[in-house]
Symmetry: C2
Subunit: 334 residues, 2 copies
Amino acid sequence: MSQLGPVALDAMGGDHAPQATVAGAVAAVREGFPVILVGDEARLRPLIPAGVDLPVHHVAQAVAMDESHPVAAVRAAAIPSVTATMRLVKEGRACAAVSCGHTGAAMAAGLLVLGRLPGVERPAITMVVPRTDGGRLVVLDLGANVDCRPTHLVQFAVMGHAFAHAVLGMAMPRIALLSNGEEPGKGEERVREAGALLAELDLPFIGNIEPTAAFRGGCDVLVCDGFVGNIMLKTVEATAEVVTHIIREELLVHPSAKAGAWLLRPALRRVRERTDYASQGGALLLGVGGVVVVGHGRSDETAVRSALRYAARCASDDLVARIEAALRGLRVAP
Amino acid sequence: MSQLGPVALDAMGGDHAPQATVAGAVAAVREGFPVILVGDEARLRPLIPAGVDLPVHHVAQAVAMDESHPVAAVRAAAIPSVTATMRLVKEGRACAAVSCGHTGAAMAAGLLVLGRLPGVERPAITMVVPRTDGGRLVVLDLGANVDCRPTHLVQFAVMGHAFAHAVLGMAMPRIALLSNGEEPGKGEERVREAGALLAELDLPFIGNIEPTAAFRGGCDVLVCDGFVGNIMLKTVEATAEVVTHIIREELLVHPSAKAGAWLLRPALRRVRERTDYASQGGALLLGVGGVVVVGHGRSDETAVRSALRYAARCASDDLVARIEAALRGLRVAP
């Protein structure tokens, strides 16, 4: 897929940057995914092994809070690396952008530089999470937007549907609204109004759904306000922590179960991998004029590599054009 | 605590009623907690063992949907058993009410018969859940109210605080607002406004909190809108299911871990007990003029007995008077 151009990586963003970002980029390049690093060349170059084709787009660091020569620093400093990363996509020099830095900054830079797609009032943070039936669940919005209006939820539904179809290859992804009950009269006002709007559209909308049914496979695209979605996501992480805590505690209390403790270690690691969604390779910012993957701040080399591959795949699946087309359809339909 | 009078139990409410309700009541009576059953005497009497002092307050069943003699049925039928249960509290013939029937019906009957305490616009469903630090977390509202206004959240905070103090014996329960970030600027509009209001009151309010921090022990009273709280609660249940599913799957896939499978069974049962909050004995409906415990529809004998003991304890701790006093303080404070 090199005809698409490389994925631009904000090499300075993330708790373990630039070591983890460069290492993840090197791994991606070795797998055949071209990458361009964005950041301070003097710091990045020494981390790139000889013989690896990994170009660097140089931008100086932002001015530090304790900078003692602010004027000189401002003259030297260019735009932040995350903004420069988005610009490479805007200018067609990269097919997608990845940042594991500050999520809010990545969202702001993506929106500022790439703009919103026609028909999108608010871009949405979108993730794919595993279901107990072995399927995958697309969830949006997970925190980009609070105080959503019903029309925002409708736009999320259209974008999530297009993504599930184009990137995940689902023939007819079933859309549902996250709610506290399945009946149409259930839910907060925003959900009830969004349900009425979605029922009018030519989409496989199946109504309200509760978390348990959604995780079991009751729908493929789960739509919610960003406040509720973010709390749901963090509750999943918190509960996984509580449950593994209880299991460890129980195994220590009951001597007969102690033997199971070490046998269980791989299983508990797998729980962490499958429920700590944030470290899995990132979330998509759907609704901006380019592919933007926002990785978790904790991302290690593996997570960075996953994020880069994910971004390249979304670009090669023509995600943005497909979402744009779906949104065009939406505006005509009602 | 028999000077308080018995706890009134809606013996007809619940998936396993009246067998489970009567069995739970018998167990409670044998432990010294007086109970009065409310329901169809002809069906209840045969279930009560000889020598157990368990009075029955007779009410005919509601008219069935397929009733062929509606007029006669209406003449014969009295009020629904759940309403009759609340009436016993209102009339001072019982110290508290318990129902494991339809949650919405129990809430409606509680509100209708017992009324709201002065200063309460909306009663709140309140639960106590375990934290990983061994402490307990009071959470409200868990589904009684959607589309809450900021002042409703403030009232929930005051009621939750009074409950944690009076019933759980916490010296200074720390109150927090459930949010998608801890900074005061985070959260949906309702949360930001409630935070500003709570900061003005003479309460140990510590600000916003995320689910992970709350479950780890970052606060004692967690306040949220009923829509968000209900989804959080159901996400906990769903995640616990997903996690135990993953663990079972892993134990089957890896031969070396298979031996751990049966060793782990008690631990997984304990996870279910500690995360399936709904079956633990019930939720309190705080803010009505009496102690009302709403048990889960699935309640078995043990859950019914727990709910009855919980209700008796709340009554003997003078919960309603204490919440009323706390609310009086609230109206004066700002």
